[in-house]
Amino acid sequence: MSRVQFFTGQSKLLFAMVMLLSMLLVAYSPMASYSGAQSVEAAKLQELKQKAVKEIDRRINNLQTTLKKLEVDVHLDNKNASVTANGNSASVSANEDGVSANVEVKPDTKKKVEDTVKQFIDKLTAMKEKIQNVTTLQEMQSFAKSVDSQYQLDQMANVQGAVTKAVEGLTGVFDKLKTTISDLQSQVTKLKDCAKDANGSGCAALGDVTEGVATSAQSQLDSTSSIMSSIGSILLSVVTMLLSLVTSFSGLLGGLGSLSSLGDVSNLSSLSSMTGLFSSFTAISSQLDIGSGMGGSVSNILSSVSGLTGGFNF
């Protein structure tokens, strides 16, 4: 075989191989890019799923914490704290009939709030299960919209529960303040009686009672009277407002139908009132701040009075 013949045969073979490779490339390249796109889509689906589940878990966790707090009831003594101010009877008692009748978060209101929190936990749990079974990116993107758009509703359910518990907490503080005032007042009244008549019943056992101590203790107790009235008024106002907000949110949810089948709610006009509801809950929280501050002041005064009465053998 001559050299020319050899190269001609070799180049033919080479040419055939190149042709074959080209054909293979043409045949397989769409498949390769398809499978590449598919893996990008799968990664995106996985990423969305993980984010959605993480956010849903976060919301469920918040709601469960709130529910646990709500399930603990605050016991109220409902004692009448009768405080004498400047020798006249009592501004606390004067307001108390009106206040004490409304100062608790009514059990049916609390039940409604608890039920709402439970409904939202169920709704989110169902949504999480559906998301975990999603197989296409398109479907997952639709769920992502639902999760994002329902945020305000989920947050409102949690805010309502948490604020209700906070209001109940302040009613508890107010109640315990009244109990303590009432008990301290009984001691101070005894001190006053014994300061006037040291031979009165049970006075000898108390120790040496001076009028100065009795007057000072009474004066400090008197100073709590107007603060207690203010706390009572704040509570009356926030409890009334809370009831109205719970009714409004409940009505709004009623208009949405079944929560478990709720999808993308971003265009629902009925949710426009959510901003107002949110502002009202924020206002309640501000009022609670003021009430708590006042409660702290009364508590300090009562500690001081107990310091005075504590020196006697009650």
């Binding site: 949690n158 948490a162 508890g172």
Partner: protein, 100 residues
């Protein structure tokens, strides 16, 4: 038989009935009067001798100590609950936006 003296028993019977009715009326009036006067006398008696008021109970040192301890715990719990409510109101900052 004397025809003129015949209506006499009828008249006396009517008088008898009037007498009986008068006695019944008097008895009813007396009964009502007794009930009214008796009740008012009872009221006066109740007003005149009210039940003795019990001496006001005075809280013991331990009771006040207990009150202050419960008050302190209640204030702390209320403060925790209120902090949770504030956190719920500011939850937006923790939200994970899924669709982005």
């Amino acid at each position: 038989m004397d025809p003129v003296s015949a209506p006499a028993p009828k008249k006396s019977r009517r008088l008898l009935w009037i007498g009986v009715a008068a006695v019944v009326v008097v008895l009813i009036v007396a009964l009502v009067a007794y009930l009214v006067i008796g009740n008012s006398k009872k009221d006066v008696a109740t007003e005149a001798s009210p039940s003795p008021t019990p001496e006001a109970t005075v809280a013991t040192k331990d009771e006040v100590k207990q009150d202050l301890a419960v008050l302190d715990a209640t204030i702390k719990q209320a403060s925790t609950d209120h902090t949770a409510a504030k956190a719920a109101l500011k939850d937006q900052s923790s939200q994970i936006k899924v669709g982005n």
